[in-house]
């Protein structure tokens, strides 16, 4: 009988105990994608090409073309070289959706932020922002195509 009473007492205490509120500091909460966005898987050739094509043309690549391009990339051992050739071939096609160089120069800050989100699906760090702001100053002839190519060929873009 004593045990039942003790159990009843404990349950009553638990049921009536107060719940502490979450601490809210006096700053705005921001949903930021983490640095490198926890990417740890290497894209397959097909994944890389599909994503790259969708990124540049804003539409899906056909299944046939995906197989053909994958074959092309497999036929060259140095994947960096193969990717460069495929990418420059894309850039030579009509239908690539990229902002104009003048638009990029109008608001470099926003362009960099959008480019990081478009290719890396993450926010940029202040160090990265600093690099690109300085780079655009020291390289006034850099085009959007060059920036997009650099991101498309970078190692981080090979991971997801």
């Amino acid at each position: 009988m004593k045990k039942i009473t003790l159990l009843f007492f404990c349950l009553s205490v638990l049921a009536t105990s107060c719940k502490k509120d979450d601490i809210i500091y006096d700053v705005n909460q921001v949903n930021a994608t983490s640095y490198n966005a926890n990417k740890n898987k290497l894209k397959t050739i097909s994944q890389y090409i599909s994503i790259l094509y969708a990124n540049l043309f804003q539409k899906a690549l056909s299944a046939n073309e995906l197989v053909e391009i994958t074959n092309c990339i497999e036929s060259i051992g140095d994947k960096e070289v193969a990717h460069e050739i495929i990418l420059s071939n894309f850039m030579n096609k009509s239908g690539v959706t990229i902002p104009s160089d003048s638009l990029m120069r109008t608001d470099v800050n926003a362009f960099i932020e959008q480019t990081y989100k478009r290719f890396y699906v993450r926010d940029l760090t202040e160090a990265e922002r600093e690099f690109f702001l300085n780079f655009f100053v020291s390289h006034p002839d850099v085009s959007v195509e060059m920036v997009y190519s650099a991101f498309s060929l970078s190692n981080e873009y090979q991971f997801y």
């Binding site: 495929i86 780079f135 190692n155 991971f159």
Partner: protein, 443 residues
């Protein structure tokens, strides 16, 4: 013996103080071996070649119970061609009735050393080429993974500091996991010492026409330089947090040269000036044509050319005979092209030819258009191959072994290449090959 003379003649230079140099890995290196030749071209006469139709010259006699014998590979081997039931040539009035004219005035057999009967214990395509390139029988590794033991490309590049574009692996396709063989997963070697792989029938075929041909060539200073600067920054950030990617170590200049080469090949293809064999309409012939272009452009220290059209023997014996004949023509053309069109390699190149394995003694039940039965590769006859080498320091017109006296093993090939290019000691010190003997050691 030529090799002994060669060793004697080079003893002084080997004893001399060798000049150390820095490898790409940053390690101080001093060459220890003398080279017999500055270039080696290794033709992996792959896909499975029966001794009976190649070196033994039995044509239809030993396979189809039809009494016609003769040599259908007369650029490589001595011997008269068959005179009866000609089906191995190009198509004339009927399929295969027109043999391809002989290309070389002197057969490769007369110019070099032939091992007539050699053992090859692995009888699968990927495993066979893997053995050819690593000098190991890799029984325990998967078919869709990179070699677990270092390839000959890696030994060469690591121990001699050879540039990436001086090492090529040219395949006639991307099947059978072939592209995986450009470097191994071995922790002491790996991608940074790998070869440049190229499957030209794809790169410059229909798919390549569509997706490679119209590629831009960016201006090196105005466009590529800033592009690479941004890429290197992005990669450095990634390295600090992420995983590195395998890289065979082509420099920016080498990459630019490869891209330029690709561009030029499309132009040459359009103009019909690729160095294809005179009769080169099959896949192997096409591959050899582009291999000639690679050799001409890059003058590689070491290159492997992989041909495998003969694999059709499973279901088309007549096609197999045609492929043997056409590939003999293509190999003859390759040797002829090196000697007459690439002055930097003429007289300074060793050619090695070896099938990856043989084919069965007994046929299967698949019958082709000539009512000939096909042959797979799974019995003891599949372990029989020939080896051939031609070049500076190699005895000419020398035949080693015969049908009743097997001398040599497929794993002797990598030490042979290492010996010719002067890094056999380093390779043996690594202790990762099945045999320390080169083919020279067996003479």
């Amino acid at each position: 013996m030529k090799r002994r003379n060669f060793l004697k003649n080079t003893a002084l230079s080997a004893a001399a103080i060798t000049v150390p140099f820095i490898l790409p890995s940053g390690r101080l290196f001093a060459a220890t071996g003398s080279r017999m030749a500055d270039h080696v071209v290794f033709v992996a006469f792959a896909g499975g070649v029966r001794q009976q139709e190649s070196i033994l010259q039995r044509y239809l006699d030993d396979s189809q119970d039809y009494p016609s014998v003769g040599n259908i590979m007369y650029n490589m081997f001595d011997g008269a061609p068959p005179t009866d039931k000609i089906v191995y040539g190009t198509d004339g009035i009927i399929s295969g009735d027109t043999p391809i004219p002989k290309l070389l005035s002197q057969t490769l057999q007369q110019q070099g050393t032939l091992f007539k009967e050699v053992n090859a214990s692995t009888v699968g395509h990927y495993a066979g080429v893997n053995t050819l390139l690593t000098g190991n029988y890799l029984y325990s590794q998967g078919l869709k993974m990179k070699p677990s033991m270092p390839t000959i490309f890696e030994y060469l590049r690591r121990h001699q500091g050879v540039k990436a574009t001086k090492t090529w692996f040219i395949g006639n396709g991307i099947g059978n996991s072939l592209p995986l063989l450009d470097y191994s997963l071995h922790p002491d070697y790996g991608s940074q010492f790998g070869a440049n792989f190229l499957a030209p029938t794809i790169t410059f075929g229909d798919d390549g026409e569509k997706h490679f041909k119209n590629a831009k060539i960016y201006h090196p200073e105005d466009e590529l330089d800033p592009m690479y600067k941004m890429k290197y920054f992005l990669d450095n950030v990634w390295y600090s947090q992420g995983k590195p990617l395998p890289n065979i170590g082509n420099t920016e200049e080498e990459k630019a040269e490869i891209k330029q080469f690709v561009k030029e090949m499309f132009l040459k293809k359009e103009n019909g000036t690729i160095a294809h064999p005179p009769v080169g309409d099959n896949r192997d012939g096409q591959t050899i044509g582009y291999a000639c272009e690679v050799l001409n452009r890059f003058k590689p220290t070491f290159s492997v050319v992989y041909l495998s059209s003969v694999d059709g023997c499973h279901s088309d014996f007549s096609g197999y005979l045609k492929s043997l004949h056409a590939t003999d023509h293509a190999v003859g053309h390759l040797w002829d092209y090196i000697q007459n069109n690439i002055p930097e390699m003429a007289g300074n190149t060793t050619l090695i030819v070896s099938p990856e394995h043989g084919r069965n003694l007994e046929s299967n039940n698949i019958v082709d258009a000539n009512a000939f039965t096909g042959f797979d590769h799974s019995d003891a006859n599949s372990r029989r191959i020939f080896n051939m080498m031609i070049g500076p320091g190699v005895d000419s017109n020398l035949t080693i072994g015969n049908e009743n006296n097997q001398i040599g093993d497929i794993v002797n090939i990598t030490p042979t290449i290492a010996e010719i290019l002067g890094f056999k000691n380093e390779m043996m010190s690594a202790g990762l090959t099945a045999s320390n003997n080169s083919l020279f050691d067996l003479i």
